[in-house]
Symmetry: D2
Amino acid sequence: MTKLWNKGYNLDAVIENYTVSDDYSLDQKLVQYDCVASLAHAKMLHKIGILTTQELRDLEMGLQEIMSLWEQGKFKIERSQEDCHTAIETYLIEHYGDAGRKIHTGRSRNDQVLVALKLFAKDEIGQILEAAQELVKSLNAFAKAHRETPIPGRTHMQLAMPASLGLWAGAMSASLQDDVIFLQAALKIIDQCPLGSASSFGVSLPLDRQFVSDTLGFEKVQHNVLYCANSRGKWESMALSAYTQIMLTLSKAANDLIFFSLPELGYVSLPKELCSGSSLMPQKKNPDGLELIRAKAATVQGNLNIILEIIRPLISGYNRDFQETKRPFMQSTQITKESLWVMTHTIEKLEVHLDKCVAAFKPELFATDWVMELVAQGIPFRTAYQQVAQNPNDAPHQDPIQNIRTKNYD
Amino acid sequence: MTKLWNKGYNLDAVIENYTVSDDYSLDQKLVQYDCVASLAHAKMLHKIGILTTQELRDLEMGLQEIMSLWEQGKFKIERSQEDCHTAIETYLIEHYGDAGRKIHTGRSRNDQVLVALKLFAKDEIGQILEAAQELVKSLNAFAKAHRETPIPGRTHMQLAMPASLGLWAGAMSASLQDDVIFLQAALKIIDQCPLGSASSFGVSLPLDRQFVSDTLGFEKVQHNVLYCANSRGKWESMALSAYTQIMLTLSKAANDLIFFSLPELGYVSLPKELCSGSSLMPQKKNPDGLELIRAKAATVQGNLNIILEIIRPLISGYNRDFQETKRPFMQSTQITKESLWVMTHTIEKLEVHLDKCVAAFKPELFATDWVMELVAQGIPFRTAYQQVAQNPNDAPHQDPIQNIRTKNYD
Amino acid sequence: MTKLWNKGYNLDAVIENYTVSDDYSLDQKLVQYDCVASLAHAKMLHKIGILTTQELRDLEMGLQEIMSLWEQGKFKIERSQEDCHTAIETYLIEHYGDAGRKIHTGRSRNDQVLVALKLFAKDEIGQILEAAQELVKSLNAFAKAHRETPIPGRTHMQLAMPASLGLWAGAMSASLQDDVIFLQAALKIIDQCPLGSASSFGVSLPLDRQFVSDTLGFEKVQHNVLYCANSRGKWESMALSAYTQIMLTLSKAANDLIFFSLPELGYVSLPKELCSGSSLMPQKKNPDGLELIRAKAATVQGNLNIILEIIRPLISGYNRDFQETKRPFMQSTQITKESLWVMTHTIEKLEVHLDKCVAAFKPELFATDWVMELVAQGIPFRTAYQQVAQNPNDAPHQDPIQNIRTKNYD
Amino acid sequence: MTKLWNKGYNLDAVIENYTVSDDYSLDQKLVQYDCVASLAHAKMLHKIGILTTQELRDLEMGLQEIMSLWEQGKFKIERSQEDCHTAIETYLIEHYGDAGRKIHTGRSRNDQVLVALKLFAKDEIGQILEAAQELVKSLNAFAKAHRETPIPGRTHMQLAMPASLGLWAGAMSASLQDDVIFLQAALKIIDQCPLGSASSFGVSLPLDRQFVSDTLGFEKVQHNVLYCANSRGKWESMALSAYTQIMLTLSKAANDLIFFSLPELGYVSLPKELCSGSSLMPQKKNPDGLELIRAKAATVQGNLNIILEIIRPLISGYNRDFQETKRPFMQSTQITKESLWVMTHTIEKLEVHLDKCVAAFKPELFATDWVMELVAQGIPFRTAYQQVAQNPNDAPHQDPIQNIRTKNYD
């Protein structure tokens, strides 16, 4: 058997290549999740009397074998099999006969994909949340260490008012903590078990969906069977909305760090281990990791759109279009996780140059403080503003480090 | 005074037109929110001794006057004033002199915009959540009424298995309930008070930010002052991510209803009050509201991208680019709210044609049920599947209404 | 008569507000184009014997009146009329009776919109192409004047090799010239006359479409009547693809100029007429025009997506969804035209600081030239590269102006 | 040697994995193009005296060897080599010593990438244009064969007026012909040789760029060296704008064909060779190829955005961000080509069911024709319209085939 829906004729070759695409290779990452879900399904089928005890044991053994083979890199999905679900059922039938022929009772490939993807998502989002917490810790440590490392604050990229590297790191940390809240909301929505929805319309069998959901560790059953199918792509796009926010935070941090490390500023520098060079210009030391964070942030946002655009036009029920949402989802998950690692790494290895930070302070940075002094003397703000505006560079110079101590940056 | 930062020379006319854009007209919707925030700011300035009691009374009176004028449609923002913040300060200075000149102490226009937009957002999102709950109610009532109104379930838009209009409405309701969770998460993140962040770097005055936050009814202070500025556009994009999900749900409902009301299907029809006609073809009755929900869903998603693309490249601190995020945010807020109203209206007035629903059932819709019967007789699923696949149209016909009663659709 | 398709009942108020949206106000810009197209249509109807000579004269007079009223700002489109097409037909019927009742013979509102939008597009794109040529001229003049104004060339934003402001301006000019080619291709595709396609399916009247096309100055007739309707949004999106390229060029120029005018670099500065200030910080002089070019570039790209996303899911023939493509198209047209003006203005007023440019040269900028000297002595490139890489800062210093004279930058 | 810019220390492992990404595997498709470009570069270096005749022969031989190895699938690019350019230079140095060390004289990896990608693009776009012409031919043949196969024309997806399958195919053909014009414009812009731009700033060697351009068959030299670098991503995005238009045409055709093949309509059907089945429902025959065309159209549009969003924020000169534009460009090129093949295949194998087409005609489809008859009798259009609107279903029935013969559909 090559395809679950095989009926005896061959799919036209051009179409086959086009329709299977790289789905079968993406599915390498879903094998273990499908096995786990199949196991829970088999236990439930046994519980409601569809499988005998022997058949359940056969399937447990078969699924264990597949997981072992997979860990050793020996479980292959052929292009002609299309996906991991077919490969797994095929293995079970070849090795365990009728037990294998019964495993698909009461489910469709569609809800297999849904449940495997959700188990994958829960795992990966868990790792992303951990990686985000790691970065929050690194940023907070950096913020504490550099609470009094002054740098010019900017608006419109021009000099504005005194700021500090600690304030900057705190801003990144606060941003990431908001992102975590958003991703947790997506995770909560994802954490509903779709298995048992079959082809969007249920089946006329007394499936015990609560049992399957509990066995797999879901928070609850996703009750409406049509919504299970309809939510494909939708919950991935919620996760990607949150990934996009994380990448937005990382991208801003990357923009800032590249800016701070311009030769003309030099507030910070990256250790050479984090840079690459040029094939032509021998002196170059380039912040490639940070540049790629910027670029990959665009990729994740683009992938969010791909998923949204694929699913928005569809009527209810499964449509093949859904398949194309898998790659952008899986790719973005990996990018987000790795980008967090790269940024944590960067923050921990960042070299700060206090001399350059202090040297960067020009009188105009203190103009607003001068206004506030006049305000403290009772001059109305707008009047004081217009007075200082005549000669902002005459603002009394201050020691930058002393200055930022007077600000409430916590 | 025409501009808060006026220093005596005139901005080049081409640039002025380009930079002010339609910001001053969008700001009509922010006047009352800026007044409320200004009032809280004034109270705080009084509390920390910057304003005398008389000055506070002057400002309270002035701000009340502005709000009254605004309600009567008489508070105008001139293009030359750029925005509501300038118009309000100008009014206060003209009518209350130094009290007006002091109102801007310790704040920047930037955090005025931030707080006014957040108050607007909290109000509007509250209305959207209410409208969503209304629609959930309507959908649930429709689902209950049509639990046993059978329609063909489809996958790949082709006939699949029996379904019901109730299952369909339940799927839409479940989808919207997930959207509500996502929007609530965005609202929670928005609900942090930015006022007092000044130009992203605080000021050297002992502002009581907690007092302002409490006065304005925020859940908490957004502490990091740089993050206040950096989060502009970011929290709007979180709201838009949730709006996008709502519009995705509405768009799918619209797609389905337009499909169900095709002349060849006719499961439902729209009352003529919800349709428009053609200028050329006299017989036309078109589902314009539903078509526009589809189109406006694309607009909201596009607006999400506009905001994300504007803010992603920016370094920390205020940049003028932020201004362009206001229109897509405000426009999308209105679209989402109105689209929920239109859909609620549509669901409530929808006419269902049971005869057409029942007539739509062809034998192939029962093929899977036939497989399940064979499974119940002990035949392994895959074997039964292949047996039925030979002649799926021979599936024993069933009464559609009886059939869906056997499905667990709740 | 309020609506062309009026049949006696009132559209539900919520729906009406939702469906008409701001279409009637956008249509203010289309009045004259619809009049011109209606005139050509009337002449053709007369030519094929549908209109009498007197009726044609009546319509000519009526349309002239409307155009005069419009120029004086007195031709109003009521929200209840939905669009300019209804307002115009209503006027003609009220003032000229049956002649007015005949004007719509053989056309639909849909092809009226199409032809009016195309006439608008041809006009506006013509202006954009002119504005682009103006900017090319300004950039070329700037390039010539600053051929030997040296600035550090950068890769990865770090110092790379010597460059010049002239090279920079030449790059912007070359980029814009490519954009012009792309926009001309879009214009060529737009330049096909759709009038006579009716509601996508033609009519059973012997319309002389070639005559209408010639009268209106189109290059050719858009023959396939279904494609006329199907191309709505499509040709707008082609124009927007080209606008996006123009905005990409302008955005890069804006990024560079903001960067060049950082206080730490100061290669160029903007005259204060092109800057705005801060409401809080008295010293600020901000490059708002350039920042908004960046932001508006994102808006135009977002609008491109809105149009593409609206039209992609539609089946053939007119769908109401198309209406929502009008605003993003018209808005983007205006943004692109104005952005070109702002950039031309900026280039012409830009102040260059040669002292800062020269002072920016550090030895490492000459490392590659040092490699090339070794290459000229016969050392293989890769060997020379590795030798210089040991101490790139030992590169023999050169006079920057002399150096760039040796480069072939034309 | 592992990296062209190797200076003796190892890149941190996390960063290396993140920065190289899948670039080295994408580069498998660029090996032959880099070899061809390297050969032209070597000939030029010989012409200007940098390479001896023997060195040129060595390089010719080495590059031939690499191309042979590549054709046999034996030329591997290691992840540690990052890209094909490094792998090729490494091979040449290992096998031909100093000749290999000289090949990089006067170029950078950046312009190697640019020229190889442009040669790839020219090749692939040539194939896409051919595939588009093939589809135009198939559509025209189908249009001719089905000029008089009547189907209901629709607006708002509702019944509108008579149409024909021939009209439909003609519309798709006309659309694709416009797309071809747009892609040809992109190709013309791409057809400029960037080689010799080095790291965006040229080199101080008398490179003969015209010779290289002619040798490689480019239409002209891309003169401004900074623009060469700046145009990376830009010309790819122009190609993708045109691909997006092609996919838009294919997507509409797919939407229509899926719609026409609904069981309730059945105007056409797909041969089973072009369909797949369901793992659960034995009767299913699904139009997967067409569904995936829709989904992949969204992917191509998303990829366009990814490229635009990556490059828009960048200042002039090479930035590492560019690397991330390679995958979306190459992936979209393949999708567009294959989608054209799949659609051509589908059109050629499409089965038309004339009986179902004719049976689909209901009286209301002739209402507009009835209006036109009244118009022909001298009744003003709007009066006739209102008269027919009372009872559109009383429109005199016509033979659909006769009816469409009276329409001017060519």
